[in-house]
Every structure is written in C-alpha cells, then in structure tokens.
C-alpha cells in the first residue's frame, strides 16, 4: 500500500519535472539561435513570416493587459464578497451564494470566450468608443468573472478559519463588524488571502480559451486595451494547431513562449510567498 502511495506521489513529481525539462530543453535550442536579449526587447513577433522576428513583448503585454484587467476586477470584488460571506451573511445566505459562485468554475472557458466575443463586446461597443471586435478589455473583464470564484472561495475559507475566539475578542472590545473584519479577520487570514490572489493571478495569466476567442490572434504591441492582441497562451494554441515542422525554429517558439509563461507564474508565486512571510499574522 505504501509503495502504491509513494508511486502516486512520485508520479506528480516526475510529471512536473519532465514538463519543466521539455520546456527548458526545447527553449534551449531556440535561445541558441535567437539571443535572449532580442527575444525580450524586439517589438515584433512574426515567427512564421518570410522575415521572422522573435520579440515576446507583444504577447507579453497582451497577457499582462488581460490578466491585469481581470485582477483589477476580481481582487477587490472577491475580497469584498469573501468578507461579506464570512462575516456578514446569515448561514442560509452563505450556503446559497457560495455554491452558486463556485458553479462559475464549472462553466467551460470556451463558453466564457464566446460570451465575451458575441454578447459583451457588441454591448460594450455601445458605450466604449473605438472598441474593436477583438479587444483586450472585454475578455479581461470576463476573465475577472472567471477568476472571481477562486479568489472568493479560498479567501472566504481562510477568513472563516480565523478562530471564533478572536472574533469574540474583537466584538467584546466594542468593534463593529466592519472593524472586526478589517482589523482582525483580514490580517488573521492574510496568508490564505494572498494564496487566493496568487492562484487567481496564475489562472488569469494562464487562461487560454477566452483570450484566443475574444482577443484575437494577432500579435500586437499596444497600450490600448480596446485593440485586439494575441496573448502568450493564444499564440501557443494557434501554433500548436498548425502543422509546423518538428524541430524548426518556429516550432521551438512555442516552448520559448511557454517558458515565459512558466517563469511569470513562478515569479508571482515567489512574490506571494514572500508577501505571506512578511505580512502573515500567525494565530
């Protein structure tokens, strides 16, 4: 039995390391041809053109735009909702709202994508002048809605895990619900709340389908979220579906882009780790 459990545990380690190995080794040959500096600073991404350019910036900015818009929506809204559910809502209300919210996780992202492209974008065009058919704004917002349940669910769990004795202590001092939430519950749950933010961020950065559908597939270095632009994930899915010759430089761009994504999420996780260490309030 313990052998079986060990194999199960070992499997996850093996899978993770082999993914990293393949990402790094395939990217290695890519970076042997294209200098890292060019990759990071060139403003054009045209690997399959006659005159190929390999600058990740257009894809990277599109990813950051969409994930940024998503988090600007999901983090404040998610935190407020979590505080409401954990500290204000009656049990009956909480037991209704939370499962409904968690049901949002079950919506296939392809549905979100078409919802953004075919319903929300035409709607937003009416009051956002200059909004293109493919754009970063609307999928960013939808991405925020998609990320919301992760943030709410995990931060609410963390807030509810703050011991009742602390809550009673806060109320006994004369704190209002709001003061209790802001001064005792959120600091006490900070570790879990940060974990929720980091997970939300990773989900937003790694999300593919919504962006591939509603943000377009055109690498476009832009500072205007009303324009469409391919994200890293959208590019990867587009190229993977094409018939690129195995081992070609264009084929290797997929792995270089994947590695960029991997490094981004890793950096967010490390930031989250240090944030937790710095601000955690152990009880």
């Amino acid at each position: 039995m313990s052998v079986l459990l060990f194999l199960a545990a070992a499997l996850s380690v093996v899978v993770t390391t082999s993914i990293v190995y393949i990402l790094v080794s395939e990217s290695w040959s890519f970076f042997a041809t294209i200098p890292l500096w060019t990759f990071l600073t060139d403003t054009q991404w045209t690997p399959v053109f006659a005159e190929p350019r390999y600058g990740i910036l257009p894809l990277l900015t599109a990813t950051l735009w969409s994930a940024g818009i998503a988090l600007v929506i999901a983090i404040p809204l998610g935190t407020i909702l979590a505080v409401y559910l954990s500290e204000y809502a009656r049990p009956a209300v909480r037991e209704t709202i939370k499962p409904m919210l968690e049901l949002l996780v079950a919506v296939p992202t392809v549905v979100y994508g078409y919802f953004a492209l075919l319903f929300l974008t035409p709607l937003f065009k009416q009051f956002v002048p200059g909004l293109a058919g493919f754009n970063l704004l609307v999928p960013g917002i939808v991405l925020g809605i998609m990320t919301l349940p992760y943030i709410v669910s995990i931060s609410e769990d963390a807030m509810r895990a703050v011991p009742g004795a602390l809550r009673e202590g806060a109320y006994a001092l004369g704190m209002t619900r709001f003061q209790t939430a802001m001064r005792v519950i959120i600091p006490g749950a900070f570790s879990g709340i940060t974990a929720a933010y980091v997970l939300g961020m990773s989900r937003a950065v790694g999300e593919t389908m919504i962006l591939a559908i509603a943000a377009g597939q055109n690498p476009n270095l832009t500072s205007d979220p009303r324009e469409g632009a391919a994200t890293i994930t959208a590019y990867i899915v587009q190229m993977s579906m094409g018939d690129l010759p195995h081992g070609s430089l264009a084929y290797q761009t997929i792995f270089a882009a994947g590695l960029t994504l991997f490094v981004m999420t890793l950096v967010f996780n490390i930031i989250g780790f240090f944030l937790r260490r710095r601000f955690r309030e152990v009880y």
């Binding site: 004795a165 202590g169 806060a170 006994a172 001092l173 704190m175 005792v184 009880y283």
Partner: protein, 285 residues
C-alpha cells in the same frame, strides 16, 4: 439611598421564594451598598432552551462578584449577557433587565446598541485570545477603534495598562514582537491589559485562569485583587478556592437559577442553602 432600599426589598421578596435561601432574604447582611449594576428578573433563551430563569443579582461597585455553580448552571450565560455577547449568534433572546448604574439604562434592551454596551463593559475570555498583532497593537486596539490614534496618547496609555496588568517589565523591550511569542499566562495578562485600556466600567472575567498553570493563575489572582480598587469585576470560576480567595460577593447558580447570593466569606463559612453547602464542600458539581 433609595436605590439600596429598592434592591433590598426586591431581594427580600424574590419570585422564587422557595429556592432562595435565608441569607439572600436577610438583606441587611448581604446586599452591597453601592451598586455598579443590577440584574432584575433576567431570563435568557438559547432558541427554545431557557438557560436563565428570573435572575436577580446586585453587582457591587469596585468589588469582585464571583459566579459559581456546576457546569451548565448558566453562570457563563449570565456573564455573557452583561456585554450582549449572545447577540452575535442567531436565535438568542433576553427577557428582563440588566441596568448599569448610575443612569440605569437597561443594557439587554433591544433598543440599546450592543456595540455601545461593549464600549462600557470589557471582557476577558477563558482561553487567552490576543489578536495576531504585536503586543503594542493588541493593547492599542480598543483605543484605536475609539478614535485615539495619536502616538503619544497611545504610548502613554499602553504603558499605563501594561503596568496595571503586571506585564510591563516583561514586555517593555519587545512591544513590537508578536503577542503569540508570550506564554499563556502573559497572553492572558495582555488580554486583561487590552480590556483595561479603554477604561471599561465593568470587567467580565470568564474563567480567566482555567487554561493556566498554578503560578500564572496566582499572578492573575493578584492582579484581580489589585484591580478591584478601581474597577468592578464579575468573574465566573470553577474553582471554589479561587472564588473564596478573590471575590467579595458570591452568587451560586444551579440549573439557570440563582440559588444564593451573599458576601463570599459568609457564604463559604455558613451557606444558607443545602445545595450551596453541597456544592462548595464538593459533594456535587
């Protein structure tokens, strides 16, 4: 003086005359002279379950009143009525009055904001429950929510109450370290300091030493003895010895009723009720 006379007469003719002992009726001996609060015919329900039945109890000003009785007798329930802690949970109901002297407001009335009650009545819990903050911020918490944020005012008050709680010398060099670095006894004294900081009129202690070792317990008991010079204290305790050591008045409860109330010394040497006698001599409970 009218106040005292009224109290005495209420105690001379309680509703549950049969269960109240001779001592309680003998108002001239056991009724305190200056009152900080008074419980009048208080009943309390947890949903359908009636946990308190027509409690009558005077709380003497700047004295220690102990609530004793076996588990489930309602002593903690009664204590938690004084700061409306029961309001935090749905389905609880009060009936009757707890009036805070001198102005005589009924603090369990639905029209009274429980937050305002808790601003006046502090509480220390069974297990130390410092906030996950620094020692300093724990003590300052009650002051900050009352709008005191000036560093000099906070510094002064924090030092003052930490001294009062006999903790200052142990923590003065590490006010910014976490409250959880302290030992259990120190944490409980920190909680007492936190409660004292906003100068409550009444302090509720809910078995404050039950999670502590004998030495830490002795320190807290000494502290309570010191505090009674300035504040009114109600303490729930399981330990008869503790009640005998630190309280001035003592209320014995059984199954949601107040069986006997009187001066501690008298009650422990010459209890008026058989049940009280059995309990304090350890025959049950």
């Amino acid at each position: 003086m009218t106040d005292i006379a009224a109290t005495a007469s209420e105690f001379a003719a309680p509703e549950e005359a049969a269960t109240v002992s001779a001592h309680t009726a003998d108002a001239s001996i056991s009724i305190p002279h200056a009152l900080r609060a008074e419980v009048r015919n208080l009943s309390f329900w947890y949903k359908e379950f009636q946990a308190l039945k027509g409690i009558q109890l005077p709380i003497a000003d700047r004295k220690v009143t102990a609530l004793i009785g076996a588990s489930g007798c309602g002593k903690s329930t009664l204590l938690r009525c004084f700061n409306r802690m029961h309001d935090l949970y749905a389905g609880n109901r009060y009936d009757g009055e707890i009036v805070l002297k001198p102005e005589g407001e009924n603090i369990v009335s639905r029209s009274v904001d429980p937050i305002l009650v808790r601003m006046r009545v502090g509480m220390v819990f069974q297990k130390p429950n410092p906030f996950p903050k620094s020692i300093y911020e724990n003590v300052a918490a009650g002051l900050r929510i009352r709008g005191i944020n000036k560093r000099s005012a906070l510094d002064e008050r924090v030092e003052q109450v930490l001294r009062q709680a006999a903790l200052w010398n142990e923590v003065k060099d590490r006010l910014d370290s976490s409250a959880y670095d302290l030992s259990g006894g120190q944490q409980q004294r920190l909680c007492i300091a936190r409660t004292l900081a906003p100068e409550p009129e009444l302090i509720l202690l809910d078995e404050p030493t039950s999670a502590l070792d004998p030495i830490a317990t002795a320190v807290i008991e000494e502290l309570v003895d010191e505090l009674r010079k300035n504040v009114t204290i109600i303490i729930v305790t399981h330990s008869m010895q503790q009640a005998a050591r630190i309280s001035d008045y003592c209320a014995f409860m059984h199954l949601g009723q107040l069986i006997e109330f009187g001066e501690t010394e008298q009650m422990f040497t010459n209890p008026g009720n058989v049940k009280t006698q059995d309990y304090i001599t350890g025959r049950f409970g």
